[in-house]
Every structure is written in C-alpha cells, then in structure tokens.
Amino acid sequence: MNTPENTVRWHPVARSADLRPGANIVAGFAEGQELALWRAADGTAQAWENRCPHRSVRFTLGQVIDNRLACAYHGWQYEAGSGQCASIPAHPAMQAPRNVCAKTFGTAEAAGMLWVRLSPDALPVPDGLGNAVPAGWHFCRTLTVRVPAAMVRETMARHGLSADEASPAWRGPLDGVETAALVLDAQPLLSFIYLWTSAAPGSAEMKKLHAAARQLRTDIEARPQG
C-alpha cells in the first residue's frame, strides 16, 4: 500500500517529557536530518531543521523566548508553528522579510513520545502512534548504537521481539519482561532505541530489563558491520 500515510514515516525523536515548555532545545535526528526540538511557552512541540536560515548556525545553540526560537549568533527570532522570522535585532525598526523562514517539520505527540515526519505535507496522524506504548507503561531507557536501524531490528528479532502490526513499536518479552521498543533511524550509522515496559519503576522486573537492555546493546554492537 503506497499511500502517503505509509511512505512518509513518523520518527520517534524524543520523549515528550524531555521538552519543557519555553525552556530547552534538544538536538534530534531522523534519517540523517538534524533537528532542533523545542516546546513553545504555549506547550506546542516544534521540530525544525537545526539551522538558522541567516548563516546556518545550529538552532540548538540558541534559546527559547516565549513562543519564539532565537538564534545564538545574531539573535534572529523565529515564530513557533510557522518558523517565520519575526525579529532581526540588527534592524529593530525593519519588518523581518517574509522569505526568511526556518524549515519546519510536522510533529505529533503520542505514547509519551514526540514523533516527526520529514514531509512538509499536512497528513493525519495515524492511530498506530498512540498504540505504540500501552497506557500506564513506564519508560525504561534509551539505547544509542552506531549501526543502521535495520541491523537493530534484526537483532531485536533474534532477542524475541517482533514488529507490532498495529503500531510502529516492536513488542515482546525481553528476558521475560514485557517491552515495547521504538527504533529511531537517526543517521545511516546511528540508531536510538526507546524502551518502554509494563514493569514498575524501581521493581526487580525493571532491573532485569535494564540488564537485558545492556545485553541487547552488546549484541547489536557485536554484529559484523556492512
């Protein structure tokens, strides 16, 4: 099925809880695209190309001011949502030109994660994102591995996880602990794995999952490259 909904992938780029309204900017990746992730003071999540249109300095060095992102180099400010430049401090009396605009990507918040798609088209958020992690589950940890996402999925399959039909998650018991794994194809040789679980924080089961996660990472890194 080659509908746009299927071909344009939603990438789990960060935990929603890691973006605080009007506060921090988080560096993100998806399919090699560098992202600046932040949350406007009004709470809306933003995923922008990590590059100021003026001199290409990374937005992640900047700061969030209310509902705007300000570049660290020259203080140019851009509006949440549209990415439209709203202020050029070198010329306070001049209206910022309309053609100065940060490149923005579509976002969705579901299952405790911020999801980004790299298409500018307005597409509906598929129901599957919300099903990726069952309600009431807890976050375990993120694994960062310098291998392609396909290799991560192959190794997860050998650990007994399988692709969920109704969501982008991989599901199954990891060393006996119920787990939902979300894989981010960050760069050609960089992947992130977000592990969620039914195990309660601080429980023996959670400890067991942490140990299983370390083993999973070891096995991924031990696989022959290329």
Binding site: V57, R58, Y73, G75, P92
Partner: protein, 283 residues
Amino acid sequence: MPFITDDPNMLDDWLVVGPAPAPSASRTTRLLGETVRLSTGADGTPSCHLGDQPLAAQPRYGYLWVCPSGHPARPLFEFPEYAEPGRRLVDCGGIGVAVSGLRVIENFLDMAHFPFVHADYLGKVPHTEVAQYQVQVEPTTGEIWATDCRFWQPRASAAHDASGSEVLYKYRVMQPFSAMLYKSSFRAGELDAIGIFLQPVDDEHVIAHTLLACYDDDSTDAELIAFQHTIFGQDKPILENHAFKRMPLEGRAETPTRGDTSSVTYRRWLRERGMRFGVRAAA
C-alpha cells in the same frame, strides 16, 4: 602539486604558518592537507620544507609566510601600523577552529553578533542596531574596506573599563584568509589595529593567528592576550556549529540582511576570484 587543493587563490598566495622558530630550531605544522617543516638557521634565516622540497617563504609581521606554488600572484599586503612607533605588538597565539576560514573572516567582519556572542564585552542588548556603513573594493590593492562602522560597546578592549562607549571601526580584507580591523583605542584620536591571519589546514580547519598593534600603557601582554582569548573563545563554538562548515557563495542557502554589507561584499569578492577552497558546492 601535492596539496589538498588546486585553487590558485591559495597556491599562488602568501599563507601564514605561524611565527618562525627560534634560531637553530625547527617544528612541523599543517598547511593545505600536508605536514610542512619550519626551520630557522643559526643566522636567523627561516625556511619551510615539504619533504625535501623547499617552499617559497618570507618572514613578515612576526610570522612566516609561505607560497605553496612558488609563484605568488601578488606581493604580501602592506601593514604599515606594524612599524609605527608607540604601538604594542602582541602575537596572541594560534587557535585551531574546525570550520572553513571563510566563515572565520566573515565573523571577524561582522558587528551584528556583538551583543549576542560577546555580551558585556563588545555589545549588549538592547544596543543591537547596526547603522549603515560604507564598503568598497580598493581599485589599486583589490582589498575590501568597510568604513564608518560604529557600535556601542560595554568593554571594547582590555584597556577599557565596563562603562561603555560608542566605538568606531574600520575593516579591511587583504586576502581571502587575512583581515584587519581598526578600532577606537584607549588613546584619543588613534586606532588600535588587530590582524587575523588564517593558516589553512584544510577546507574545514584553520589555525587563527591574531596580532595586536595597539596603544595600551597599562595592560600586561598576558592581559591583552587574555582579552583576545576571551573574545575568540566566545566565537569559536558558534563558528564550529555552522551546519555547513564550508561557506556557500551562491544560491539561496543563506539569507543576508541589510547590515550584512561587509559579508555580502566579501562573498561576491570571493566569487569573482573563483574561490573554491573552503567553499560549499552549490546545491
């Protein structure tokens, strides 16, 4: 030619490689992707070798300058302030920067970043406005000059206290990788001169050599150097976080504004001389 580039803008020009070694000493450094050896004879004559091959070299302004091809297209630029009596000459040392040298020169010419990158030193919000200034290319020397530049600065140099003043600037680009600025000094009516000379390591790395030719009766050399290092230390993380390390000269990859006249002129000047080294290929 064994070097990493075939751009005559680099090969046929005088490139800085840092101060010449002391008499009878030698050291190696990097130039255009190669390791070169700098030596100074017992008689004080410096030289530069790539393997066994001597390269054209001359000592000027406290540094050794090398022409990789041996066929310089023009003599090294003039720097009359270097010999002016009463000026303090201070080499602030070489600092490596992981970005195209063209980005470093553009940053050196830029006033608009002062309040944001050099807050409480060279600028301070809300004093952010860049007033109109003049930029021209000198027909005789081919140098870019930006004049009539002014900016309000909280603490313009090591000699200034933090009470703030409007500071006059003149900027000058002599080579793609060399620039000077002249700014109001502690001494009324006189301008301090600051040179930045970039040693091209490769397309995305330089060693920035900074030279002060300034008036200051009070600060020690260490204080003058520390001030420059503070300023440079503020620029370095910005410079190393350009999403494109090489500078685009064409197309719409980056959008200038009104006060970027120096930058726009510099990029056009580079384009007109067919600059390729350190340049991002057009998309």
